[in-house]
Symmetry: D2
Subunit: 287 residues, 4 copies
């Protein structure tokens, strides 16, 4: 029962405040540090107070911005100090954890779960990511999406939604993917398709390119064939799909759009984290 | 035949440059002032040179920003002086003309046609207007369009496209219109509908409201029922649908979004003006 | 108040039974003849009993199939006899009334309202009409709608929905309309467009044609250019848009699809009649 | 090069004729038996002549309807006799082959490839399958898809397209799937979702159910909760998802819709087989 749970949330941005609010209204006893004051949330005067009162502690996404300090705007808390202050046996839920955090928790017998690695979050985040990409394209292009020619590289969860959004707004969409299966799916869904190997020949036709493939697609050779006017929005996580230095030197229009959900729709992104955490709590037997 | 036409374009912004380019590539002899230099466009050193060489002269949208000077960034040309310099019998195409311009042209026996009043332009402009409204909503909201609750006031050409765009992106859309016919059409197109008289009761449910009705809908009474968090995007032309002073005083979130096409998609907006001008030239027997 | 109304329904098909059921569950006192027995419906042993007990009488759509007898499966009641048996001052709601019925009611001081002429019904009927047309096309074609080339003639309420349905299922849709405004709207909605005058040249490209224009489009000349394999579905009411005799003689594939709502979705069609009747009762001050 | 290939097609229905036509117009030398006569197709007087002249032989889908005779309308050719008549080393492409055919080919050193097992065909067939299911629903239901409540069981390639089609036509769609991932995907795509375990409680709400899960979902228990009026369309291959005997005994409305592509859109189905065969020929190094 969620009513039995004491959950501490260490705030970072809007998303953590939303997580706190949603947990409180779901019935949990919520202790918050650096989150928005609201009915049902017990604001704590220190991180230590917050964690000591709670059985489950939720850190931000990412849990640390620099691998030294906990991601928390109001104070400087070293990662080591933070985990040292947590009693054994407690559960910490955190985003984008690293080897360092995992080792510390292991030594201290703290249970650490990375909610960023849950498929639920990955899937649900596709929606704000695609809307963010669309917003960027609308802002940067001096033409409408309607009647534009767009290329979507990759046809996974983001490529599928994005291609569909673009088509619904009237863009002439081409999907490029390595796998024959993905190209066939794109055709079934009403898009044009082309093999990755054909991009070089066709790149000059497109007004805007969205890359979702996390490997170097836009190398010097392809960039040379890309018109300066073509907008490239790279949605692939590190190392990204564009040789950025070369692209900039050549004067290409590239936007590397990382972590869009928290930026373009922090409230929705917070709710997605909340719903992922609920799923984890369920799986872990807390609910 | 377009090849027989000598057309002068007085530049203002990107749109006029696009009109010049498209006319040139359609085959017209184009004289341009304050437009981007490009192959096929004869750049003139003065407005007078440009108009004297041309049989048809195209002014910007709007033709004047202040009812005193011609809308042209590079020089100060009084409206009177401009029309005095045009030979009798020539055709001037201009946007948002007023009584003053019409009188001057009438006296001087100049034919004046306002392309902004053509249905072709009004209809085609609905697309960039809706994309601009969508972009604004995406930028301002801290939630995604997906899963949002949106209200579209009015179900004319803009309301129809906008409601459809929002629904395609996953918003739960309600259309409010005075006419029973429009509400029925909205239902047929898959939206919720409500009578304008019910808005007061329901306004607190919506995350975002798009107004397309050009009369005072958001008066003090309705604004009082509108949550501070609800975003109002007013797309209605002057005087708009929101009592702005009261709304601001109350701390409501209102954006009065006028003339979106030229702002959000100037190249598409330019092509729309071009295609309207072609239609006018056809109707007037030039093509 | 609907609770105060005594309404008699003379059955014809499923639709009238649905009207009876919906009126009963809305709270009216319902007398039915030749409608399905159901809770809340008082089944009468004769038409006369049914009409004498009721203040408002609802006849079928059409009210008569042959202009001599009332449309009612179970007995032969002449139109004259029917109206003669109705007391003065009562309201009769009927579908597709004619001069004859109007004259009889006028003489007898009976109020006659034709619900088939209400825009509400016309608009709502567009949905089952379009689904019926789609079903016909799916049944008759040996190809899928997906990837087919379809032509929609006319862009009114039916043309708009049908073109949209076809596009959503992956057809490459062209809309042909006389009015420039309609062709522009079709383009804005993502379809191809062509002037009616161009059909002759282009007709051979289409797998299926849906006509919604109530005037002779497919004359001998156009039929001669139409491939025998092309399916023509004529949705236009009498006299229809196809020269049927010539088309048949030439071996063309034409389906004249009239009155689809009652045939393909009688329950939905009945609900549409019900909702139109409610609107009429409201306008007439009964509700 | 396709021009170098000699391909024999043993006809069964429209699909094989389409395969023959497409191969011929792609440039292959085509020998046909029991296929439609057309330019570029060399019609053979016997199966033996057809196979002896060809290097590659294409049998129908399924290659045999009874596991004894080759699927070919015009003559009775035993499977053994057929394969015995084929010279060693030739390639036979056939649909829905069985252990028997594979063993015979193995013994005779004939290369046998089952095109029905190719993902290309499976994916592309999803389109005519979904359109066929939609057509069935439209034909059987006395309501429109618009405003109906539909349940799609399973969210694989068919469930995804079908749910989307239904939603586009205005149905209120619920997707039920075992995997949490699939339910989340359905939500992202704008549908309602529910766990398979909840169906019993909710089944009475739906007008129509489409099953795509190939295991017994509609057992006696679930059938007892299913209204007699609810239409069940079972798209799952053998053994299907419905206990048919029990369903019939209970008077439920169930349609077991197998092999829809060849039935509802044989020309499209033929083109899909053709495009799969081209992919196989490419992979096998023939093109």
């Amino acid at each position: 029962m969620i009513q039995d749970l004491k959950i501490g949330i260490i705030g970072s941005d809007v998303r953590q405040s939303i997580v706190a609010r949603e947990l409180a209204s779901a019935g949990a006893t919520v202790y918050g540090y650096a989150v928005t004051e609201e009915e049902g949330i017990n604001i704590c005067s220190s991180v230590k107070k917050c964690t000591s009162l709670s059985d489950i502690i939720i850190l931000a996404l990412p849990y640390s911005a620099d691998s030294r300090y906990i991601n928390c705007p109001d104070s400087e808390i070293k990662i080591t100090d933070f985990f040292n202050s947590i009693a054994e046996g407690k559960l910490v839920l955190a985003g984008k954890t690293d080897e360092y955090a995992r080792r510390l928790c292991n030594e201290r017998n703290i249970k650490l779960t990375d909610y960023f690695e849950y498929e639920e979050l990955t899937l649900l985040n596709a929606v704000p990511t695609c809307e963010g990409a669309l917003e960027l394209a609308m802002r940067e292009l001096d033409i409408t999406i309607f009647d534009s020619k767009s290329l979507v590289l990759g046809y996974g969860r983001i490529g599928k939604i994005l291609a569909n959004h673009l088509a619904m707004l009237g863009s002439d969409v081409t999907v490029s993917a390595r796998k024959s299966r993905d190209r066939t799916l794109a055709v079934i869904n009403g898009h044009n398709s082309c093999d990755i190997s054909e991009i070089q020949k066709r790149i000059s036709q497109f007004d805007v390119v969205f890359n979702t493939i996390p490997s170097l697609i836009f190398n010097r050779e392809l960039l040379e064939k890309t018109p300066n006017n073509t907008l490239i929005i790279d949605l692939a996580s590190r190392p990204g799909g564009v040789d950025m230095n070369t692209a900039k030197a050549m004067g290409k229009r590239v936007i590397w759009a990382l972590s869009l959900p928290g930026k373009v729709a922090p409230v929705s992104a917070g709710k997605i984290i909340f719903s992922t955490i609920m799923k984890i709590l369920e799986e872990e037997g807390f609910l």
